[in-house]
């Protein structure tokens, strides 16, 4: 068993990055996630593992530093919050287009605009359907605990390198700011230059040896037919992820008449609502997508014919619900419940919404 600590989600993700042997972090401060870079600066990982930490002059610079380091096959991590992530969009589209592996954390806050600094889940569309231009997808993980904040770093890099695709960890101010017990993985060594060469010589730009052609990192192809081919390749990759990399959790679902579908902090709150409802004799289960993209379409669809209705719960005006509807192909009635703009729903409110759903309101 690894080391046990009480940590904020923001600290856990930072510590996990050091331990995952990440090579570099680039970021720009923004509430509610500035603890990520603050923790890293205080920990001086350059002394622990040689990991580089740099405060960029802006989010644009940060995401493009990520692009640069990732282009060389280096493990690179960045984090920001909603307005900063909007500024990342061009860079993210480039990273996806150039097929670079990296992990990006969005500790979501209330929007739109400057909004609030309180928790929110209103960046679901942006993360899952592409806030940037073009047809691309991020692998989107939604941690619902501090432990998952830590765990999803390693998992994220595994996927990022397996598919050469950017990975988004989408949490929010609640998961970022709360402390929980976290079991930390043991330190992994950073990849040596030799290892990087062995693993990524076919694509990474770390200097052309005589044994191979030059490597080029680009998302450009002025020839549309080649660009389309590249897009087909990307889409095939996404189909593979949809086939193989879906993650989800089912809590009390076996005998459920109703389902709550919720992710991240909403799922945590809804767990309590399930307890409250069960105490009242309502047979409800919680279906928690862990990957927001690829969304557990088939897995949720399996409840067709089994549950009477679904309550889609999110801290947003209604984004997750579209995927829930698409998943069940309109064969189960789905209703939305959510607070937003920085407001967090209480377990009791979710229960009430569930009761209203059952009453058919």
């Amino acid at each position: 068993m690894g080391e046990l600590k009480l940590m904020k989600g923001n600290e856990a993700i930072a510590e996990a990055a050091i331990r995952a042997g990440v090579d570099a972090y680039f970021g720009y401060p923004i509430t509610p996630q500035s603890e990520v870079i603050e923790y890293l600066m205080a920990e001086q990982p350059e002394n622990r593992t040689g990991m580089v930490v740099l405060q960029a002059e802006s989010e644009l610079a940060a995401i493009n530093m990520v692009y640069g380091a990732a282009a060389a096959g280096k493990k690179v991590f960045t984090s920001s919050s909603s307005p900063g992530i909007s500024l990342y969009q061009e860079g993210i589209s480039y990273i996806a287009g150039a097929e670079l592996p990296c992990v990006i954390a969005n500790v979501v806050r209330g929007g739109p605009g400057l909004g609030t600094i309180q928790p929110s889940q209103a960046d679901y569309f942006q993360s899952t359907k592409g806030g940037g231009h073009g047809d691309y997808r991020l692998y989107v993980l939604a941690p619902s605990s501090v432990q998952e904040m830590a765990d999803f770093i390693q998992l994220g890099f595994d996927i990022a390198y397996k598919y050469r695709n950017p990975v988004m960890i989408q949490s929010d101010g609640m998961i970022g700011q709360m402390m929980e017990k976290v079991e930390l993985a043991d330190q992994r060594p950073r990849w040596t230059d030799e290892e990087i060469k062995q693993m990524h010589d076919s694509w990474a730009a770390f200097g052309k040896g005589d044994h191979r052609e030059r490597n080029i990192i680009t998302s450009l192809d002025l020839d549309s037919s080649k660009q389309e081919k590249h897009n087909h390749h990307l889409q095939a990759k996404y189909r593979k992820m949809e086939e193989n990399e879906v993650l989800f959790e089912e809590i009390n679902c076996e005998d459920a008449d109703y389902l709550i579908v919720a992710y991240g902090s909403s799922a945590r709150i809804s767990m309590k609502s399930v307890d409250l409802a069960r105490a009242k004799g309502i047979k409800v289960g919680l279906f928690r997508p862990i990957t927001l993209y690829p969304f557990p379409m088939k897995q949720l669809n399996a409840y067709v014919g089994k549950v009477k209705a679904i309550l889609s719960v999110e801290m947003s005006a209604g984004q997750l619900i579209e995927d829930v509807k698409l998943a069940v192909e309109c064969n189960i009635p789905v209703k939305h419940f959510g607070r937003y703009g920085g407001m967090i729903h209480s377990p009791e409110e979710v229960l009430t919404a569930l009761e209203n759903l059952i009453k058919g309101e």
Partner: protein, 183 residues
């Protein structure tokens, strides 16, 4: 066992660190814990609060509307949180600065004069430890030895010399809470 607690007061009263020590103590005895603070610039000189949950089981929601215990350290927090204690629950408060004492009859209400006591001990920094002591006397959810272990984990090494003083404060708190019976 699951204990759901809100601790609320001014920013400078050590509300967050009290919660943190409590949470760490839970970890020391293999429990699940969560610690969820209010955050943001509104804290600048304003109020602060933290929800702490200690449980034998997996913790669901880290934010709550209702609590087993509310520890309340200023009037604003009293106004906001008195009503959130579950029936049969506990409200512990420091009367310093409280202009409208709690009125509920369906909960247990205790006061601890931690501000006065810590001032008398010549160290207002241990104020929050006095409060924590009082709480643990009333709800011994964590053992004192685990609190000390938790303390060691949550403060930097260079301050470990202050632990005996903190222990004293805890004991002082344990000895001095007084039950209140609303008129």
């Amino acid at each position: 066992m699951t204990e759901e607690i809100i601790i609320a007061g001014f920013g400078g009263q050590g509300v967050l660190s009290m919660g943190k020590i409590l949470a760490y103590s839970g970890i020391m005895q293999d429990q699940e814990v969560s610690w969820m603070p209010s955050y943001g610039p509104e804290m600048r000189g304003g109020t602060a609060n933290v929800t702490v949950i200690v449980s034998d089981d997996r913790i669901s929601s880290p934010v709550l509307n209702f609590y087993d215990t509310a520890i309340i350290l200023n009037q604003q927090s009293m106004d906001k949180f008195e009503k959130t204690v579950k029936p049969g629950g506990l409200l512990l408060f420091d009367p310093n600065g409280i202009t409208h004492p709690p009125q509920r009859k369906d909960i247990k209400i205790f006061k601890i004069e931690a501000a006065r006591l810590s001032a008398e001990m010549g160290n207002t920094k241990i104020f929050n430890m006095v409060v924590l002591g009082a709480y643990l006397k009333l709800k011994p959810i964590v053992k004192l030895e685990n609190v000390i272990r938790g303390l060691k984990k949550s403060i930097p090494e260079r301050y470990h010399k202050l632990i005996p003083m903190n222990e004293e404060a805890l004991t002082m708190g344990m000895a001095n809470s007084v039950e209140i019976f609303p008129a």
